[in-house]
Symmetry: C2
Subunit: 289 residues, 2 copies
């Protein structure tokens, strides 16, 4: 595995690899790699000639009240994981390298951001889109891998790729779950024993909502209400939101829900005593017409 810190070096290497016809799979991350990242890397490894992992904690996507400096970092451990996963190139630029010249523009995300977690993080997805565009131009991958745990981020990247006609295939990788259904997350360690037992109910609530829609329930608010009651009763945690949208546009669905074939996301955020957990499912809806 080669570690590359300079943009120009990364571009040179990618140019040579692509000239020999190699297919490039790219996994952009902020490092501190966990099992979710490893799933992305495995997908990339299985389906490309060359795997590029980037590790860059992007100051641009942190809000004024979000602590960029406190974001966890462990590059030596990350290097070891990357090697084990068969990464060919680890792109590891400094903040100074990525933002060395006067920045004159930003990519402003105008759709898909005023819902879910984005509603409370103004500017966050502008920072994400801007750095991902930079990384895409540096790495020029054929495929880019993102985890559906952060389904809103995937929707934003989907829009970015479409808007600028980027010749990149966005690969959406399913959320990795514990055997009992709880979405894996570094935040799960903040659950106490009793909360950990109840936490799988979140995924059950998502499935409940999906099944209600599949069974013909057409009133969106009824589905949400059922889920909220289920979570409250089964976990005692505070529901921050349960939302249901078209995916990836993240536009409101009519209620009663219209007939047709389209993708739906059900997403939730729930606050336990110390841990705030998010989860979602995306599925194909197909009714009537």
């Amino acid at each position: 595995m080669k570690i590359i810190e300079k943009i120009i070096d990364m571009q040179d290497v990618m140019k040579i690899e692509k000239e020999t016809g190699k297919k490039i799979g790219f996994v952009p991350t902020m490092g501190f790699l966990h099992e979710g990242h490893q799933t992305l890397l495995k997908e990339a490894r299985d389906n490309n000639d060359i795997v590029v992992l980037s590790i860059f904690v992007n100051p641009l996507q942190f809000g004024p009240n979000e602590d960029f400096d406190a974001y966890p970092r462990d590059i030596l451990r990350d290097e070891q994981i990357a090697k084990n996963m068969g990464v060919d190139y680890l792109f590891y630029p400094s903040v100074d390298e990525m933002y060395k010249d006067e920045k004159t523009t930003i990519i402003k995300v105008e759709k898909r951001v005023d819902v879910l977690c984005g509603k409370h993080r103004p500017g966050h997805f502008d920072g994400v889109a801007t750095v991902v565009m930079k990384l895409f131009q540096i790495v020029t991958p054929h495929k880019a891998y993102f985890g559906m745990k952060d389904a809103q981020q995937v929707a934003v990247i989907d829009g970015l790729i479409n808007d600028y006609h980027l010749p990149i295939e966005l690969v959406r990788v399913e959320t990795v779950r514990e055997e009992d259904g709880l979405a894996k997350s570094s935040r799960n360690v903040y659950l106490n024993e009793s909360e950990r037992e109840k936490a799988p109910k979140l995924f059950q609530a998502l499935c409940l909502g999906r099944d209600k829609l599949a069974d013909g329930e057409k009133a969106i608010h009824e589905v949400k209400k059922g889920m909220e009651e289920f979570i409250a009763l089964q976990t005692g945690a505070k529901v921050e939101y349960v939302e249901i949208y078209a995916y990836p546009t993240l536009e409101e669905l009519t209620s009663p829900i219209r007939e047709g074939k389209f993708n739906i996301i059900i997403a939730l955020a729930v606050k336990f005593s110390k841990a705030r957990l998010i989860d979602n499912i995306v599925f194909s809806y197909n009714k009537g017409e």
Copy 2:
């Protein structure tokens, strides 16, 4: 010459040309080609294997009070000129083709825009940067040609290329002038006979300013004042602005001007009875240290 209307077709063709090692020169325009465009095309023709011309009147860069529909178009004449200039591919997409999907983002230009003509056209350069980014991703040129008549646009594109590390060389093509120094412009036809005689004084004023700085004048306001007086006296036209900045950052210069080596732009906009003319010169300043 091949005329291509679909984004996907353009991308396919460029991929094939580049695979055989061809160098691509790109001239993006809004059509209604004039002598300035032809100079860009000649430069591109002389220095690349393949020349791509795009003609696209971009609605996104027109303000609410600027008439997109009234913008002059003459595709048949443009086609003929393109053929004569040796263009290989004319990319001529419809508005629907360029903005067919829901647009989720815009490139917001945050620097280099609050001066010169940009000051009075909020959002204009966002539209320019967004469509140029789209075109760059579609055509993937090695070199892109822009005229220095619109020096602010060139500065914005320079920022765009740097921000996203695009592997594109920006070629700044000098303003084409009449023999008497007047910058060529389709608006010159709106000058009456007497105004046309005086109009070359604008370029003389720019040279006057440049020479004053070269001769050691350090007070920016003195240089501007001298130019304004010269223009008023020699042309009788109304000076809209005379501005002097660092280039391409378009940042204020200190006054007295600092020592060192850097590029300076002197730019002006002047209103005759019916024609509003703009002009500028960019030159290297090199004093002291």
